[in-house]
Amino acid sequence: MNWLPIMILIPFLFALFVPLIYKRLAPRFHTGWFVFFVPLTLFIYLLRFIPAISKGETVHITLPWIPSVGINYSTYLDGLGLIFGLLITGVGTLVILYSIYYMSKHREALHNFYVYLLLFMGAMLGLVFSDNILVLYVFWELTSISSFLLIAYWSQRKKSRQGALKSMLITIFGGLAMLAGFIMLSMMTNTYSIREMLTAIDGITTNLLFLPAMILILLGAFTKSAQFPFSTWLPDAMEAPTPISAYLHSATMVKAGIYLVARFTPVFGGSSEWFWMVSGVGTITLLYGSVNAVKQTDLKALLAYSTISQLGLIMSLLGLGSAAMYFGYGDESTMYAVAVLAAVFHLLNHSTFKGSLFMVVGIIDHETGTRDIRKLGGLMNLMPISFTITIIGSFSMAGLPPFNGFLSKEMFFTAVLQAANLNVFNMETYGMLFPVIAWVASVFTFIYCMILVFKTFTGKYQPKRLEKEAHEAPIGMLIPPIILASLVIAIFFFPNVVSKYLLFPAVDAILPAFAQNEGVHVKISAWHGWNTELFMTIGVVVLGVFMFRLLKKWIRIYGVIPQALTLDHLYNQGLEKIESISYRLTNRYMTDSIRDYLVYIFTFMVLLVGGAIWLLNGISFDSSNDAPISMYEAGLVAGIIIAACTVLFSKSRITSLIAVGSLGYLVSMLFVIFRAPDLALTQLVVETVTTALFLLCFYHLPELSKNIGRMRFKATNLIISIGVGMVVTILALSANGNRLFDPISSYFEDSYELAGARNIVNAILVDFRGFDTMLEISVLCIAGLGVYTLIKLRLTGRDKE
């Protein structure tokens, strides 16, 4: 028995216990210690899969959930899922350790914090291990929701709430688009399983839905991974506590979009649309993020833009690598497949260096009380360990040796240079843009990395502008970034160990055509002679140092860009417009008048039901099997008609009420004649109880106006009421005339043998259709509680006034 599906659910299970632990043990015991062991256990559990996965094995377990519509809780573990799973649990462990020192156990509502965090962790694990796309979608939205809750964790701050709302609106919008794409995809391939889709891809590339499905799924990926122009939510999400920013908004959740693109590369890859959209958007995002990061004064905002830019880098690598799918397996395509390897490699590297940088920025914020670059400076001597970690993280991000960022950056340059030589997809015209943009973006990346290090740690120490006296953080807070920083260096020296056990299996999962042959087994090395890539890096460093020196001279250029053109401004304007338009539209028809609402309901019913009968040629009256009408029946119907007319024309409420009551009793008499004692009994009692209810309600109704006789004649109301009457009558008569299926009543006639009950009606109610009854009484219960709550709410509201 493999425990993988249960392991995914463990965070959810623990989330149930967190509030209990918190209630019992806080504030003596930090709740984080309890949560800490969840990702740690999962991390060790996943580590055990490495040997098997690196040999090319995969794990696939399916538990039926709703098998009748093809939705199964199926988990699938391959190289791609494993590397994400290790990131989620590994970084998760470190982040929780960090949060134990970051979040005060005296002041913070830790139970909420850790419940949301575990919720996120479980959702993220489910997302990367799901094979069924609908299950994947559920986990996908759950990450958006838990991210919303975590960003708004300090909900008393207005900015937190706004940032949370923004991130949710954008990511959920993308998620819904993705769902539509998923449905189209399953329509084309007749399956919900990603693995089964791969076997059906050959037939779908010419399908009419292929392109729309691709665009919609990419929308989901781009919004989640904060790609241009959806990147605007990520800087605002920095209002979350720093452990969350380090975890969700740099290491894991924003990489879900990358995961999705990687996962669907075997499905869509090889087409020029996929190539251009993924690599194009990725490259634009890379440039946009790095250029914008330079002007930030808030350290976390700087890191947010740098995350956007790095995500763009990974995305564009995946796009460029998808060209390998076009060529199929061969020497030529291996050069492009290296781009995919670089993408996975940089994904890992980015999580290590960016995670450590976020944690250090959190330490600076925690120990000095500010993240504003203008107030910081000269911390080098006061916080030496943090300084060292920042150097390692930033220089890795800038692409300098001896850090892992250098390796993946060089591979990135290789990939864009290769892409420039590509002669398909119109690349011969635009191909040169890729290396140029990549190089420019790298220069800006270098500059903001230098800002991060030197503006914070060198220069003049300004104790008067800080809220607290700066000092080094406690050791527990430093351990997680130290671990990540040592990984940054370790990966530089032993890249091929990492690639053998983690990267190659992941690349095999992204490019199955290569896995079937030999796979993309390229040796990663720090030194490969004086080639173009190295000269590009040297150029980046030289120009970067030069521009960083002259930063004060040209930083003012950013002020030239008008406020009206920023993405933030566009988003805010758009949101405002949508809100005001929908407000006006809703006010048009939500008039608070029950009469209007009844008009809508009945008009809709007449149009829908009447239209359906009309269009489907359902009108057919068949009186051949009808029983003859007896005298009693005729008399009762006449009585019913008289009672109904009395309701219409009576001038006092009591008269109407009595008429309604007698109408009900007459109907139940009709049931008696048709020998349905159960129905008749029920109808009698229901009439009695509702009459009592009506009497009670009288108290609240206004006086009937005296001039009711001169009530204005309303043509629309007349048409609607006649229409409803006609539709219902036609419906009832046609139901008798259209017998499409054999009646099922013969089955119920055996009720004595089947249910031991001679009363068929009751046997149907409690046994044959017991499910209906159960849901009916649930509805009844909800309705009763609803009436109770509404009235009690109104009463308490009145008391307050």
Binding site: V685, C697, A755, G756, V761, N762, F771, I777, C781, K792
Partner: protein
């Protein structure tokens, strides 16, 4: 408000309520083979209570029947769902009902059906909902 003279109403109600209550319990148990059942039985029961509320004042009835009818509703639904879950223990589909014949000391050969338990839940839910609605509207002054 002047106190209405309703001796006749009170006297009749006292007798009628007992009859209606007995009748609705009878209806409830008759449901298996004859007209009746949880829904009708429950409604009859609720109408007896309504009669009490109408003829005597609500506070008086409340004091003498100190039951929270919201709880009655909820426990009715709970019983119905639990009987459904009960069938899962015996590896039968959700909400399967069964019955058998037993020789009981006084009643002789008697049929016992699990459907009655489910029906009891239905009856409780109906009583609870009807009375809850009537009481909350009546108390809304």
């Amino acid at each position: 408000m002047k106190k209405p003279n309703d001796v006749i109403l009170h006297s009749v109600t006292k007798v009628a309520v007992v009859i209606i209550l007995t009748f609705s319990i009878d209806l409830f148990f008759a449901g298996h083979h004859d007209p009746g059942g949880g829904f009708i039985g429950g409604l009859g029961f609720a109408s007896a209570l309504t009669l009490l509320f109408l003829s005597f004042n609500i506070e008086w009835v409340r004091e003498n029947i100190p039951i929270d009818f919201k709880v009655v509703t909820a426990s009715g639904v709970l019983i119905a769902v639990l009987t459904g879950l009960g069938s899962l223990i015996f590896d039968a589909p959700f909400l399967s009902q069964t019955f058998d014949y037993f020789n009981l000391p006084i009643f002789g050969k008697t049929e016992l059906a699990t459907a009655v338990i489910f029906d009891f839940g239905v009856a409780l839910a109906v009583i609870g909902t009807a009375v809850t609605i009537i009481l909350s509207i009546a108390e809304d002054r």
